[in-house]
Subunit: 304 residues, 2 copies
């Protein structure tokens, strides 16, 4: 029997938090301000979805959880957290609250927040440089992860665009009428690329062949887009208390969101359809794909 | 006959600028704002000292310039430029002028400047992920470069501390009386680590053995510290026009500089002594070390 999604999430969080605890400098290591700031944001209660998707992709490909894969997962969480710290800065989204806690610049000041984000990106590559997989896989993971988190034009690996590129499109798209093309491009880049590479890199770590990697990529692209659509819907329908961050900000700033273009009901149907497409890509893996599929189902059915 | 230092610098700049031109997205690639900002800062007239040191270290080890080493050099320049962009931000040094041109946030706004710095760090790892050396060397270069540019506690590779750690120590040390220990630590971390890893990574790219790498590290640590001491002295003695950036800022903010602790004359003697120690580390390479040595000599004799 496979684990339930709640069991996968619970054991995944424990494993990733232990890896992050080990891989990040302790808060009393000098210079203490930046290490405290890095830990403040990394341990603010994240759901560790990207690392857990990474680990379950690796488990599906290898037949068991490969030794050391949690370090790869932790590096993805460091990259996710760095992007949140910089996104929250006054010059960008100017958010005071994240996961129910003060954002990094509120707690530590802007200078340290900027450098803590920088250092989390760097710490991710220190971690990738120490992975326990063959060097040829490790360097391919470095390349894929960097392309996915860049401006989106670093290579032709099938990642449609990169995380920073999505952030820039998001800023530039504010206070413009959102179009379907723009919303699609922003979502695929800003959130989709990192989710996709989390799944793809898990497959690479486990030694997956090119067909397997291509299937994981299709799964990740569809599940990642569905995840972001649900995020947009939750932003419109939930309270700040339920979300642990300021609700309705997307509407207030006329951000390019899926429900702004398609409405809430169509958005939910689109998310369901994308999950069906994601599942189809994993059909050759049969029962072994159940954990990844249950995670994808969870992503579109969650309430915060 | 070896090239003169001016010939090394001139051909090195041309080779690195061509690599950067090829490796960075064009300014008309969407999203155009960030790609324009990245290029604005990368092509603002930098001397390319780190990439040139990298290439000359590789040339010394391999006996000729290894194919594709300019991409490694370009990645080091991207990392150097990202650190300058973030260092110049209002929340950090608040500098309007860099290499005689408006700083990135003055030209493109704070949000894009923060993301352009982020993206240059990412682009460096895309570039390292595509290096034309064996994967085992490439992943070792990723690890060394990331440790050298981090907070300084990522590993025990002999790099004393990391670039971001040095920036934090620098901020925290402002308006305190500078001590010799603090100045030494900041210099080794903030500037020294990236210069050292530029030289070490060139040796790794060329397939250098552990003794060679250790010697390059000693050379880099001594030459890097000498370089920063001379930088501090120039900041006190030259005009803004001569430097292409705001002069005397270190003194104004009571930054922890070498001449603030030791005075200008002793600082110049220290720089000379460090260069002598740097040269000693390269003695087994004989005449092949001449290009690296002439670069080190240039670093302490330059006037801007």
């Amino acid at each position: 029997m496979h684990q339930t999604v709640n069991e996968i999430l619970k054991s995944g969080v424990a494993r990733i938090d232990a890896a992050l605890e080990r891989l990040l400098p302790t808060a009393d290591t000098p210079p203490v301000s930046i290490h405290s700031a890095m830990r403040h944001s990394v341990f603010a209660g994240g759901k560790r979805l990207r690392p857990i998707l990474c680990m379950e992709a690796a488990r599906m490909v290898a037949g068991q959880l490969p030794r050391g894969v949690e370090d790869l997962g932790a590096s993805l969480e460091m990259l996710h957290t760095y992007s949140l710290i910089h996104d929250d800065l006054p010059a960008l989204d100017n958010d005071d609250l994240r996961r129910g806690k003060p954002t990094c610049h509120v707690a530590f000041g802007e200078a340290i927040a900027i450098l803590a984000g920088d250092a989390l990106q760097t710490q991710a590559y220190i971690t990738l440089g120490n992975l326990q997989c063959p060097p040829a896989s490790a360097i391919e993971i470095v390349r894929e992860v960097a392309i996915a988190t860049g401006t989106g034009v670093g290579g032709d690996t099938g990642v449609p665009s990169g995380m920073i590129g999505g952030q820039v499109m998001d800023i530039e798209g504010e206070n413009q009428k959102p179009t379907a093309e723009l919303v699609n491009a922003i979502h695929r880049a800003k959130t989709g690329a990192l989710i996709t590479v989390s799944i793809v890199s898990g497959g690479l770590y486990a030694g997956g062949n090119p067909d397997t990697i291509a299937r994981l990529r299709t799964f990740g692209e569809n599940a990642g887009l569905a995840f972001q659509i649900v995020d947009d819907v939750l932003d419109m329908t939930q309270s700040s208390e339920q979300l642990g961050k300021t609700a309705g900000k997307d509407t207030a700033s006329e951000k390019s969101t899926w429900p702004a273009v398609y409405g809430i009901e169509q958005s939910q149907r689109d998310a369901d359809r994308l999950i069906t497409e994601a599942f189809a890509a994993l059909s050759p893996f049969g029962d072994a794909a159940e954990p990844l599929k249950s995670l994808a189902r969870y992503l579109v059915e969650r309430k915060n």
